[in-house]
């Protein structure tokens, strides 16, 4: 391969990594928020994302805008689905998660972590297989024109960069969603309360913050973010009820990479994972992409467990 072939390949892979990485980043931000504030490992996060994908699919079908308009409509539906999943998250927390985390778990030996893990693991089994019963197993996706078209950028005479429209706009949407969340955390009362609860729930409790309600809010926002990611991904990636699992590993890798206490960090972590996954194809056979992700994940955990932007390894 001559240098222009190399150059083209590197550029293409880089752009693929960045675009996909923004979406991974959004997924990680959702999971990272939940973990950062509540110290809950939500094993069912991928399954909720899968449900959001189906919600998006049905939402767009309901409006039946035709292929040309399907993408923008899907983005609108994403916002609605996010609100819906906020509610679902709050309900899930109230009914299930709160029983094995937060105040009720303080007495147990390990802070309730194992209980939470099993509960969300069971939940993921229920959602996955329930999805199979409800939706069937055929892979499907939101049919839209944007997913089949790319912008061709002629960088030089010999190098052309292809940017898939659906992926590009989804990446923009994802970044916007994360940006909005960071703003929420930094500037609003809700955000301040969440940050207080994240850094010291007992102190926050004494200061009059309704800690359980904050946890509920955090869980809701976390699911809402992942729901947006789901609808975006549904526009260009065929999914079926077992798809959640494909992404959960990437989500965890990104969250740990970016630092488990930080939403912005989780986003960057997801971005990095996307880049690692795609860039690895330059040196490794494409089959070993995900192995590359895991290796990086393990290296980060061992060398710098607090991740790139995280503060402390374990809360005291």
């Amino acid at each position: 391969m001559n240098w222009s072939e190399h150059g083209e390949q590197i550029l293409q892979v880089l752009s693929a990594g960045l675009l996909l990485g923004c979406l991974y980043g959004l997924m990680c931000a959702g999971l990272g928020l939940i973990f950062g504030i509540m110290r809950v490992i939500n094993f069912a996060q991928g399954e909720f994302m899968m449900l959001a994908m189906y919600a998006g699919l049905n939402g767009v079908a309901l409006l039946s805008p035709g292929r040309a308009w399907a993408f923008p409509v899907a983005m609108g539906v994403a916002v609605i689905v996010a609100l819906l999943f906020y509610g679902m998250g709050a309900a899930t927390h109230y009914l299930l998660i709160s029983r094995v985390s937060g105040a009720r778990a303080l007495g147990s030996l390990d802070g309730g972590h194992t209980g939470q893990l099993i509960l969300t693991l069971g939940l993921s089994l229920v959602l996955q297989n329930g999805g199979l019963m409800l939706f069937g197993s055929s892979p499907t996706s939101i049919s839209n024109a944007a997913a089949d078209t790319s912008w061709m950028l002629d960088m030089t005479d010999d190098i052309t960069l292809f940017l898939n429209q659906a992926r590009l706009w989804s990446a923009v949407m994802a970044t916007a969603a994360v940006g909005l969340t960071l703003l929420l955390m930094a500037r609003t009362g809700v955000g301040r309360r969440l940050r207080a609860v994240a850094s010291n729930p007992v102190a926050a409790l004494y200061m009059g913050v309704d800690v359980e309600r904050s946890f509920r809010t955090a869980f809701g926002i976390g699911l809402a973010l992942t729901a947006v990611a789901g609808v975006c991904v549904a526009t260009f990636y065929p999914f079926q009820p077992y798809t959640g699992f494909d992404f959960v590993i990437i989500m965890y890798a990104g969250v740990v990479l970016g630092g488990m206490g930080s939403v912005g960090g989780a986003f960057l972590g997801g971005l990095l994972i996307g880049l690692v996954q795609q860039l690895s194809t330059l040196v490794l056979p494409p089959q070993l992409q995900n192995t590359a992700v895991f290796v990086v994940f393990l290296l980060v955990l061992l060398a710098r467990p607090q991740g790139l932007l995280g503060r402390s390894v374990e809360r005291a």
Partner: protein
């Protein structure tokens, strides 16, 4: 208390189980026999997981790595090299054990969630590797000539029998662990790793030994799985489902006990199979839903698992009778008289900085053998930090400490403990689920090679501090005074030369304080050197031979108690300059 309990009860239960298995194997038809084999295999994997997760609190999401390692060892050796699965199974266990040690050595430095997530990555990273290497489907060849040499039996009862034998073996190993020091050490690590280290447990070594056993068991389970199912694919042995099943079976049945995974597998595996058979064709996916709901229900209602739920229920109906140990209690040995006064511990110029905070600046002192040294000073003076340095919990920015000739700074807590320095803490670090004597026992392991000797020493120490009537009460139910005495006993059980006591009188009534003073004096008389941090001046003046005063991280004064108490600098430090005139009263 399970420690060193006579084997009889366990052996009886195992014998009953074996009889049930034999009956089952002789009466069931081939299809239920297959399910029986699978129950055995999953129970073994659950037991393996329980060693790290249940006993040690190290929740692993990656046991599939060892399971798959064992399965592929058998499959590849047989398919590619014609090696019989009889040998393959043994090698599978070896591979599983080695993998676990390697992975553990690398991953144990992580704690809590990080550890669990890291473990998740290992088997999932292996799936693409195996597929890429061409092992996406390895079938064990059918041997028509001499099948028995290759673990292929025409009689459907042989494989379940082999699996049951393997399971009983693993069960025996787990019960053995529960009865001996490895189990106790794991329990301690699970409940409070730092306290375990300070009590002298070499935590890394304990974890690695546990990993070796756990990995070998999982590898064996995987190897037998390959022989039973006959086709191995990376997804089916390294997949998330395998790791989840190990976890679910243990947690459902009962965490931290060998019976748990057994119960879990016995209930869940046939249930999944029945669901699959009955509803799978009509409502695909329903077995997953029912399984998931069942697990969620257990966790919400009885999180410790079925075994403990049933046992607690039964125990609440019948009051537990205290089991007196069959160990003869001997009087504490008379301590050999040592010449008082020669220097035991030297601290030279120790400084500790936490970021911008100078916790200790150039602190020096000496502790003489056999004396009771009181270390006092206002809040924030750095007293506890000093102890943390001596104990190995915190590192120094500069300076050094020596115990006799041995260097004390820069060692880990268990190394410090091994040198004969014991520590009690400001907030008692107990192992809440263990009884009082078990808490003390943990401290005894360092100084005693045999389990029996350690148990004797623990009882002796418990008697020494006068708590023999409360010995079997779980630490979470002890009073403040009892906890402090327990911690003292734990420190003593390791026969230390020097005890560092941190605010042992906090929260005690006057009568209790008098009792503690008597205890400590008794210790000193027996030849143990004591350095004690305290605020209760009245008590300290009566107790200590000498004082060292710290203020703001520096040496302020030292000397006999009467002198130090009247020293204007000391009064000024504690009460402010205004009170100096009032000194002397």
């Amino acid at each position: 208390m399970v420690f060193l309990q006579p084997q009889l009860r366990n052996l009886v239960v195992l014998a009953v189980l074996m009889a049930t298995c034999i009956t089952a194997i002789l009466t069931l038809s081939p299809y239920p026999l297959l399910v029986l084999s699978l129950v055995g295999i999953w129970a073994m994997l659950g037991l393996s997981w329980n060693i790290l997760g249940g006993y040690g609190g190290l929740v692993s999401f990656g046991h599939a790595a060892f399971f798959g390692g064992g399965a592929f060892t058998v499959a590849i050796l047989f398919h590619d090299y014609g090696v019989s699965p009889w040998i393959g199974c043994v090698l599978g266990a070896v591979v599983g054990g080695l993998l676990a040690v390697v992975i553990g050595a690398v991953t144990f430095r992580l704690k809590g969630h990080y550890f669990s997530l890291a473990m998740l990555a290992y088997p999932l990273a292996l799936i693409p590797v195996f597929t890429w290497a061409g092992w996406s489907e390895v079938a064990l060849p059918l041997q028509r000539t001499n099948p028995i040499a290759y673990m292929q039996f025409s009689d459907a009862r042989i494989m379940p029998a082999i699996t049951m034998v393997a399971l009983l073996g693993c069960l025996f190993v787990c019960l053995f662990i529960e009865r001996t020091r490895l189990g106790m050490q794991l329990y301690a690590i699970r409940q409070n790793e730092l306290a375990a280290q300070c009590a002298g447990i070499a935590t890394m070594r304990v974890k690695l030994v546990a990993s070796l056993i756990s990995g070998a068991m999982a590898g064996l389970a995987g190897a037998l799985y390959a022989v039973v199912v006959l086709v191995v694919t990376p997804g089916s042995v390294f997949g998330m489902l395998v790791s989840s099943q190990a976890l679910i079976v243990s947690m459902f049945g009962g965490l931290g006990t060998a019976w748990g995974p057994l119960i879990g597998a016995l209930i869940l595996v046939p249930m999944a199979e029945i669901l699959n058979a009955g509803l799978g064709a009509r409502l695909p996916g329903v077995q997953g839903v029912v399984f998931g709901l069942a697990i969620m229900a257990v966790i919400l209602v009885r999180p410790q698992g079925l075994f403990w739920a049933v046992r607690d229920h039964v125990a609440s109906r019948r009051p537990a009778l205290p089991v007196m140990p069959s160990v003869a209690l001997q009087a504490a040995p008379a301590a050999p008289a040592k010449p008082p006064g020669d220097v035991l511990l030297t601290v030279e110029g120790i400084s500790v900085r936490f970021g911008g905070l100078h916790a200790l600046s150039d602190v020096s002192l000496e502790v003489r053998r056999g004396e009771i040294l009181g270390i006092i000073g206002p809040n924030g003076a750095g007293k506890t930090t000093l102890f943390n340095v001596l104990n190995g919990i915190v590192g120094t920015t500069s300076g050094a400490a020596r115990l006799g000739d041995a260097r004390l700074t820069g060692l880990s807590p268990q190394e410090v403990s091994a040198l004969g320095v014991a520590r009690t803490f400001q907030t008692v670090r107990a192992f809440p689920r263990l009884s009082l004597v078990e808490n003390v026992l943990v401290g005894a392991f360092g100084a005693h090679r045999s389990d029996r000797a350690a148990l004797e020493a623990a009882w002796v120490t418990v008697r020494r501090v006068g708590l023999q009537d409360r010995a079997l009460v779980p630490a979470s139910l002890l009073t403040s005074r009892e906890l402090r005495l327990m911690e003292l006993a734990r420190a003593l059980a390791g026969n230390p030369t020097l005890i560092l006591m941190d605010e042992s009188f906090a929260g005690l009534s006057t009568a209790d304080v008098d009792g503690m003073i008597a205890q400590i004096r008794q210790l000193a008389a027996e030849g143990v050197t004591v350095a004690i941090i305290e605020h209760t001046m009245g008590a300290m003046v009566r107790l200590a031979d000498r004082f060292v005063v710290l203020d703001g991280g520096r040496n302020l004064a030292s000397g006999l108690p009467d002198q130090v108490v009247r020293d204007p600098r000391v009064i000024s430090a504690y009460l402010g300059k205004r009170w100096v005139e009032h000194a002397g009263t």
